[in-house]
Symmetry: C2
DNA sequence: CGACTGATTGACTGCCCTCAAATAGGGTGG
DNA sequence: CCACCCTATTTGAGGGCAGTCAATCAGTCG
């Protein structure tokens, strides 16, 4: 359902010198003219970030708009009692801090890097200027926010109507798409039980038990910090 | 926290003839010049809708953008097994169908009128034209979507981390703000147990039991299809 | 005065969380 | 290479929140 590479040739491609790796594309840049992309990239700063580094703090006032170029991060939302809930992966090409385009609003979520990553950063003011000048860019931002809204609504449905088993299956399928590495044996996911449990919002123990069951059924294989999906299709049937 | 009437005098006011009632204001029109509001209203069609009428269907392609002028409606999101979940009230001034500004996207939610209501409707094409011509209007749409995103995230937290009791308390407090009528005895809510249960995503029986308990504690009084909140403040303490 | 919808109450059940305790992997330093 | 530690994981027992089911009661409207 993702209209990620919906376009033709080099739509959304960004080759503004060494700022982005070859083949990098973002929904934010889709349909922009090369000259526009160059201008947008020229206004950005590149930053390297390390694992566990917090890139934006929910509730603090918005300082900048960011775009993940390489690596991996995730959205979290704080819950009462100091915990925070996993919302979604952030993979290369995903923007965050889109609240920066809305004057005087706080960050809605916390973003934490999960791997060594590089990001592009625009300060609030120049982001606003750029998005005012380039209508298509503003339209893309609107579309991205719409996508997030849509995904969040789906997550809400999943979290409220599905059983623990279904939510875990869902978490695995989503992770397979976003952080999985295809191998000869299947799709390999670099996930601990704890991470999976937090994604699916189940306890560590429920996650462990469910994975064991699927392992017995031959759907997947586990090892410490890694899950090998042998038959992802058989998971799909678990959750609708 | 709501920046609803953040403005000065008649910001967001709309007196474009008989299209909107006096005192009507919408976040969508905030900061617009009267001439702009007039132009926007001129492009709209007014429709009357009756209770239980479905104004947009989740998943169907977007035809129009709407704004509730009088009455009451609600957002719902479909769930597997044919049920649909309550997401949020729509009260006068709230826009829906904002996906119309995004070419080729389906409605994310179903909207159903709950009372005799009147709405303003723009077809997709003219809405797009208007929002392109008036940057402030586009900015407002972005802000509204951002608000929905924020509220949806809060709802997600509530639905996943809170107990049934807390969710019911939350539903009551929200309803008090949006559909409550203040009286001498307290705030009166025109809600059946069933509606409340669907808002809080609890079973009918859990809702009934919880309300009975609060009635015994003197926090509220129940009658058929109506709830009278005597001490709303004592509910707040229930949910954090 | 029926008939229908809304609300109540109790008994039972089940999913999944909590807690406790044991086991296994993987790296490190001796 | 082995002892050790720290973290990840497993497995079982127990319990609680809230849902389902069934039956009854109450209000309202024609």
């Amino acid at each position: 359902m993702k209209s990620e590479r919906a376009g033709g040739d080099r739509r959304g491609g960004a080759r503004g010198g060494q700022l982005t790796p070859p083949g990098f594309r973002s929904k934010l840049f889709e349909g922009l003219k090369p000259s526009e992309i160059t201008a947008v990239l020229a206004a950005a700063q590149r930053r390297k970030v390390s694992p566990d580094q917090v890139l934006q703090h929910e509730g603090t006032t918005v300082r900048r708009l960011s775009l993940l170029v390489t690596g991996l991060a995730a959205f979290y939302k704080g819950a009462p009692e100091g915990t925070h809930l996993f919302l979604r992966w952030i993979t290369p090409g995903d923007a965050f801090g889109l609240a920066a385009l809305r004057p005087g609003s706080p960050y809605l979520t916390t973003v934490k890097a999960l791997q060594e990553s590089s990001i592009l950063v625009w300060d609030r003011v120049s982001a606003y200027a750029l998005f005012s000048q380039i209508p298509r860019l503003a339209g893309n931002a609107y579309a991205v926010v719409g996508d997030y809204l849509s995904e969040l609504a789906d997550l809400l449905i999943a979290r409220t109507t599905q059983t623990a088993q279904q939510r875990i299956a869902r978490a695995l399928v989503q992770s397979a798409r976003q952080v999985g590495r295809a191998g000869t044996e299947g799709i390999e996911l670099p996930l601990t039980n704890e991470q999976l449990a937090e994604m699916a919002y189940v306890s560590l123990f429920t996650a462990s038990r469910q994975l064991s069951e699927w392992q017995n059924q031959g759907i997947l294989a586990k090892s410490r910090g890694k899950i090998l999906l042998r038959a992802p299709k058989r998971l799909d049937s678990q959750y609708f």
